[in-house]
Symmetry: C2
Subunit: 194 residues, 2 copies
DNA sequence: CGACAAACGGACCGGGCGGTCAACTTGTTA
DNA sequence: TAACAAGTTGACCGCCCGGTCCGTTTGTCG
């Protein structure tokens, strides 16, 4: 595994940035040709760096998830576990993490960073629960699944305020708190393996 | 506008049923050719009944929304407005309404039935709010947007219990109740048009 | 330098898509 | 039952997609 040539390393970064933009604008249906054009390289160069479109997607997901993992790790030592969980969830939603998570389905490569995120969120939720900030019957997997809901909900209101996701995140957070919680009608899901 | 010939009417129903099944299984990417095969007709017949794939989608959405509108109308006269709203939302989620709403984006034709649904949900929410069953700062549009969240959330947990949506619907419902509600950080969205 | 491997680019391929069409079949109606 | 319009069919079209390939360019290093 020799180090990348200078131009190759630069093009790789250009490609990741262009692909992220293109996927944000057009979803997973964005074409490889458009990504290459946006990055200012030929189409063949895309496939030299990422043998398959799916691996390009996986590379983007991996980096986003790792960013979030860093945030989660920092928050694990925060003084107020309840506020820490809220901050993590807000950060994840703000970064339009739902887009990245939606890649999860198409991702061929199982991404270990996601396993790490699951473990980190488990610990964040455990700490918040022990602190009485989260209802007893909610698991880390629940929170992980609910992460993407606010942005998805907002995607149905095309010309809405860019802050609208905060509204639905707040409603969901209220639903996750112990005050006024009703028993849940279905058991929690198994941890995500993926 | 002469009435349909007998075989044409039958084929139309076969096509709508086949298309609904195919979209459920493969999403909006299901091909017209597959739909035709499933219905046991030629591909040309599809386009005779629905000039465009989008209009086929719209026809399915319309019928689903109209079914839900009938439910909503019945519940408008229920004795307990809070329970009525819960029942409506549960019905909508159970029928995997999120799939249909996801068609909303691709639907070229603006569907008037959706306007009616928006008005009906507004009234259901108003009644529930007056009854103290829903927090004061939540609107009908909020509920309409949140309708699709449970099923969407569950779609990320592939091999999960088919009842898992109930769990997340319950959490969201707890978040919609007045007890333990924190002020919402963003204003409500404008009513959905279209 | 010069030479070689690494990287690049874009024409090209097979395949699947939505949609069209003209020849054919069938329900309807007098 | 005859005759016509309504309906059906599947081959066909143009398009765009992900992915390949090879002739060309370019960074690297002795």
């Amino acid at each position: 595994m020799s180090p990348l040539r200078a131009d190759a390393a630069r093009n790789r970064e250009l490609l990741l940035a262009a692909a992220a933009d293109e996927f944000d604008e057009h979803g997973l249906d964005a074409s490889v040709a458009d990504i290459a054009r946006r990055a200012g390289v030929g189409k063949g160069t895309v496939f030299r760096h990422f043998p398959t479109k799916g691996e390009l997607i996986s590379a983007i997901v991996r980096s986003r998830v790792e960013e979030l993992n860093a945030v989660a790790e920092r928050l694990l030592t925060a003084a107020d576990p309840g506020a820490a969980l809220v901050e993590f969830v807000e950060t994840a939603a703000r970064r339009q993490q739902e887009r990245d998570l939606s890649f999860l389905r198409g991702a061929t490569t199982p991404i270990d960073a996601q396993q790490r995120m699951a473990a980190l969120v488990d610990r964040l939720v455990d700490r918040a629960r022990e602190h009485g900030a989260v209802r007893a019957d909610v698991t880390g997997t629940d929170v992980l699944l609910l992460l993407c809901a606010p942005n998805h909900v907002v995607s149905y209101a095309p010309d809405a305020s860019p802050d609208l996701w905060r509204r639905y995140l707040a409603i969901i957070l209220d639903g996750l708190r112990p005050e006024g919680a009703h028993p849940l009608p279905a058991p929690p899901p198994a941890p995500l393996t993926g």
